[in-house]
């Protein structure tokens, strides 16, 4: 049964469905409705909500609660995410599964609090220090705010990695008919026995997330450590194998992680590649162009990171050109250029308004 929901509210409902039982956050537009909804919903299911003193504390509390056994989440926007990134790096290093929702607004800095942007695409990819792979999902509707939040928790549990739900203000604040499906599977945490705290570096396996209070005497540190969590900060080998594992556990499973959708690409000569709210406008523009007899298609990225480079191997031979509209100065377009020899045109907008279907249609006409 569809419900009339705001994207941010749908996200909170998805989190509860995914088993999230701890939320720590700090208010920031345009993500605050997620926090407010969690404050209402969590007590009903025996969960814990806390509004922390800042984003740094929020992310720290999320990690602490996760080691105490919780599925945990926070939500923020660009500047708040910047504050969280040091702790997110810690979550990467300690393989702490958690979900961070970033409802992007126009920046840099405080920018336009109530206006949409896709300016954090690279911040979520590279914001923390060091080398790692990350997972980021990009919803385009209230329904997907629900579904992808569950998926984000599932991926976090499977790979023991912080997962970003990389929304934008337009998707967070949209109010529309959303499908709250009761049938989405949830990956639950399993108890592990005598496995090391941190997976095996030989096969890049991910050991199930352990928890405090079971007499296991866990040693957890953000410093370079061995598989039992003992500091090995002087060991080139421990550092190299850890970094390789953080990367490989994601890289070797991209087939299972990545998802995207294609529309009208079978015979397309021009392909639009878009994500987030922009993909809605792109789909409309493509449909209009098709109605006018132009061979245009759309690929919508549902996973932003790891980057779905495989899409270029599957493009039909008819494709001659790619167009990439983005609510930033061109963050994903370069990623696309790295993986294709086809000419790539970009359409960028950073004035705090969404990219409309007619703007994309104009661009398509211009390059035809």
């Amino acid at each position: 049964m569809p419900q009339f929901l705001q994207g941010n509210e749908a996200c909170a409902l998805g989190a509860i469905k995914a088993g999230c039982r701890f939320y720590a956050g700090y208010p920031i537009t345009p993500s605050s409705e997620i926090m407010e909804q969690m404050a209402r919903e969590l007590p009903k299911v025996g969960g814990v909500f806390v509004q922390m003193e800042d984003e740094i504390g929020s992310m720290g509390a999320v990690i602490g609660a996760t080691w105490a056994g919780a599925k945990a989440m926070t939500a923020t926007s660009g500047p708040g995410l910047t504050l969280m990134l040091e702790n997110i790096g810690y979550a990467i290093m300690t393989e702490t599964p958690c979900v961070i929702v970033d409802v992007q607004r126009a920046g840099p800095s405080t920018g336009q609090a109530t206006k949409p942007a896709s300016g954090d695409v690279m911040q979520v990819r590279w914001g923390a220090s060091g080398d790692y792979e990350i997972i980021a999902l990009s919803p385009w509707s209230a329904t997907e705010m629900y579904e992808m939040t569950i998926q984000a928790f599932n991926l976090a549990e499977t790979y023991r990695v912080p997962v970003f739900l990389l929304a934008d203000e337009a998707v967070g604040h949209i109010r529309e008919s959303a499908v709250i499906s009761p049938d989405i599977p949830v990956v639950n945490r399993v108890d592990h026995t005598d496995l090391p705290t941190f997976g095996n570096s030989k096969d890049n396996s991910v050991t199930p997330m352990p928890m405090f209070g079971q007499g296991r005497k866990l040693s957890v540190t953000g410093s370079t450590h061995d598989e039992w969590g003992y500091r090995k900060t002087q060991s080139p080998e421990a550092q190299a194998t850890s970094v390789a594992r953080f990367c490989n556990k994601i890289k070797q499973n991209t087939d299972k992680i990545i998802s995207y959708e294609s529309y009208h690409i079978e015979d397309a000569e021009t392909i639009v590649i878009a994500y987030g709210f922009t993909a809605r406008s792109a789909l409309k523009a493509v449909q209009t162009a098709r109605a006018d007899g132009h061979k245009v298609g759309l690929i919508r990225l549902k996973t932003i990171w790891p980057f779905p480079e495989g899409i270029f191997r599957e493009l039909p031979k008819t494709v001659k050109k790619i167009v990439v509209p983005e609510m930033n100065q061109g963050q994903i377009v370069r990623e696309i250029q790295r993986f294709t020899a086809l000419p790539v045109e970009q359409y960028n907008k950073t004035n705090g308004t969404v990219i409309t279907a007619s703007e994309i249609a104009d661009k398509l006409n211009e390059i035809r």
Binding site: G57, A61, I63, A72, G213, S219, G222, Y230, R231
Partner: protein
């Protein structure tokens, strides 16, 4: 020694310099939990970054979470809120808890959340090479105050008192019996408890300030006897004005 069971055998020798107060503080903490017969498997020790953070991590044979500089209290808050059955103890340095972590410290005190925070206060940044700390006394020489520190130091007991902590005490690593007593009280306190422990660092503080600290690590520990004054009343915390002395005791 009966405290051995609380230590991971593989982690010795400790990384602390000779004469560092942190080894004594480590023993005082373990003695307190042994005397209370606490189940260490139901405890989590959280620390930040710095020499003091190494007291629990990785020494303690318990669940230990060695976090980022300044952030242990935030992590501890998440642990305690999600599983109140766990006894959560934060052990870290003055720079960690009061400088970069000051915001988390005051807000945890304000919430009066049931955490025990033990500050190993050596008035200096030890691990990073002896830079000035928010607790460095005026005039003290540090790597970043070669002319002597010019800013007034924090009295951490007053700070957390103002923020709402409900058990507050200060002792030194010379006064071990008293220190153990305070730690025991903190560990059984319902609410936010804070212990400021004066724990000298000869390597980074003492050798730069030999005019006041003497010429050996042992002197620096022994000197705690001369420079500390036991409070007769808790509210002496706010009236005590003896220059170059440290007021110890239970303040709340």
């Amino acid at each position: 020694m009966k405290l051995d069971k609380y230590i991971r055998p593989e982690v010795f020798p400790t990384p602390f310099c000779q004469g560092c107060g942190h080894g004594i503080l480590m023993q005082a903490i373990l003695r307190a939990l042994d005397e209370l017969s606490l189940d260490i498997d139901k405890m989590v020790f959280v620390s930040g970054i710095g020499c003091a953070a190494w007291i629990p991590s990785p020494h303690f044979a318990a669940d230990t979470l060695h976090t980022l500089h300044g952030r242990p209290i935030a992590y501890a808050t998440g642990i305690k809120l999600f599983n109140p059955a766990l006894k959560v103890v934060v052990i870290s340095g003055d720079g960690d808890l009061a400088a970069i972590g000051g915001n988390h410290l005051i807000h945890a005190a304000r919430r009066n959340i049931e955490l025990t925070v033990i500050c190993a206060n050596n008035s200096i940044y030890g691990m990073t090479g002896g830079q000035v700390a928010p607790t460095t006394p005026c005039g003290a020489k540090t790597a970043t105050t070669p002319q002597g520190a010019s800013e007034p130091p924090f009295d951490l007991c007053k700070l957390v008192w103002g923020a709402g902590a409900t058990y507050i005490a200060r002792s030194t690593v010379f006064h071990v019996k008293e220190l153990v007593k305070y730690i025991k009280k903190a560990l059984t306190h319902k609410g936010f408890s804070f212990i400021d422990t004066v724990s000298p660092c000869y390597t980074q503080y003492g050798r730069r300030n030999q005019n006041v600290c003497g010429t050996s690590p042992a002197n620096m520990v022994l000197d705690l006897k001369n420079i500390s004054v036991r409070a007769k009343q808790p509210d002496e915390l706010f009236t005590f004005s003896e220059k170059d002395k440290i007021l110890t005791g239970e303040f709340k």
